[in-house]
């Protein structure tokens, strides 16, 4: 192997890479919260909905969880212009990821709705709680505690797996920046090793803070490792 590693070159690009990391976080957080809103609605429709609405929510989940996020984004980026809708690569990635996350989050949240046991609600009723109090003190904390670990886990998946897909259609997030810089300086291995390191650190910080929040807010013992 006659290849000399020059990590200095890669580290010199750290400021550029960190700019990308900020976009990665933006994409991840926006797609997650957008997906969470869709998931809340989707899970409600799938659990309590009737007829076509329930079917629609089911079809949405089945379609988006069985096709690649990349193809969904391609559809928006390359397909929609044919209908005269032209969005930036960032917008396409964000919308694609949001729709994709919404489908997975629908399933996660549905598991939360289902987990509420009628006995617990009955117990709350016998204590004389009003309907609103039951939701506020029994149902919501129960759901939050049940699904928090899955939500935290999914956020990391979106942050890592999801956002990097944007690089393929030219979003300048962390992976995208690495590709941009590497095509100029040909230091692919060094750049990607450094980028991998940044991802590990970023997600570690994210997991750690999510575990702390979970502990403090919902008394969930989430694992960092």
């Amino acid at each position: 192997m006659n290849y000399t590693f020059q990590f200095g070159v890669a580290f010199a690009e750290l400021p550029e890479l960190l700019k990308g990391a900020i976009i990665t976080f933006e994409l991840g957080i926006l797609a997650f919260w957008g997906g969470a809103l869709i998931g809340l609605l989707g899970a409600a429709l799938k659990t309590y909905g009737t007829g076509p609405l329930r079917w629609l929510a089911g079809a949405y989940v089945v379609f988006f969880t069985n096709t690649p996020a990349l193809i969904q984004i391609y559809f928006l980026y390359f397909g929609l212009p044919e209908l005269g809708i032209r969005w930036s690569s960032f917008t396409c990635t964000l919308i694609g990821l949001t729709l994709n996350a919404g489908a997975y989050l629908t399933e996660i949240m549905r598991a939360g709705y289902i987990s509420v046991r009628s006995t617990e609600v009955e117990a709350a009723e016998t204590l004389g709680m009003s309907r609103w109090q039951q939701i506020r003190y029994v149902v919501v904390p129960h759901i939050a505690k049940t699904i928090y670990p899955a939500l935290a886990n999914f956020f990391i998946v979106i942050l890592v797996m999801g956002t990097s897909i944007g690089a393929i259609i030219g979003v300048d997030e962390l992976t995208g920046q690495a590709i941009n810089i590497s095509t100029e300086n040909y230091r692919w291995i060094e750049m990607f090793v450094v980028v991998a390191g940044i991802y590990v650190i970023l997600t570690f910080i994210a997991s750690l803070s999510l575990a702390l929040v979970g502990r403090w807010a919902f008394r969930v013992k989430a694992k960092v490792f």
Partner: protein, 223 residues
Amino acid sequence: MLLLEAMGTTLAMTAIGCVLGFLIAFVIVFLRQTPGLWALPIRFLAICYVEVFRRIPFLVVIYLVLFFIRSIVSEVSLFTIAVVAICIYSTAYTADIIRGGFESVSRQQIEAARAMNFSRWQTLMNVIVPQSWPVILPPAVAFAISFIKDTALVSQVGVFELTFRGKELNNEGFSALLVFGTIAFLYFLMSYPLSRWGRWLEQRLASSPSQRSKQRLRPAYSP
């Protein structure tokens, strides 16, 4: 026909990569559970492998594998590179699934084996694996099936699989809506039936060993 061939490539590289990944993950978990002070570096490396690769995007792994392998040997097919990348990634994920499965076997079962002089390997093969595979297999299969979709990313380095074929067709002038709609549908055709089968498998395995042995004995037809 080219689309069918591309689908075949997608399925083949996912299957080969995930099966290899499963086997390597199995060894990694075994190493990770090696007792004793001397095995500390082995345990540390095994944990690092799983933790690091679960935190790196698949796309970054693909690029790393591509350029790393190409810098050592130049004559490597893109298919091989895709398989290696899938294998590295699936190893990290399945290792956690396998570890969870092994830990689901009660400590008393392992103690009983130790008291009868079973070695660590004999305990694993005779007691832990037979008791934990119903816990391990469904999520491992589910992971592999969901990974069919994620392999779309290897099109980026030019592997001739389904997504790559889609991009080619689009470049040849076919409507992107039509092309990517079709490609999405083809992924759906592979992923949906398999995920239904995975769920069926999970329900079937959720029974105890004695019930399973009866299922085996029961004739396939019944009056």
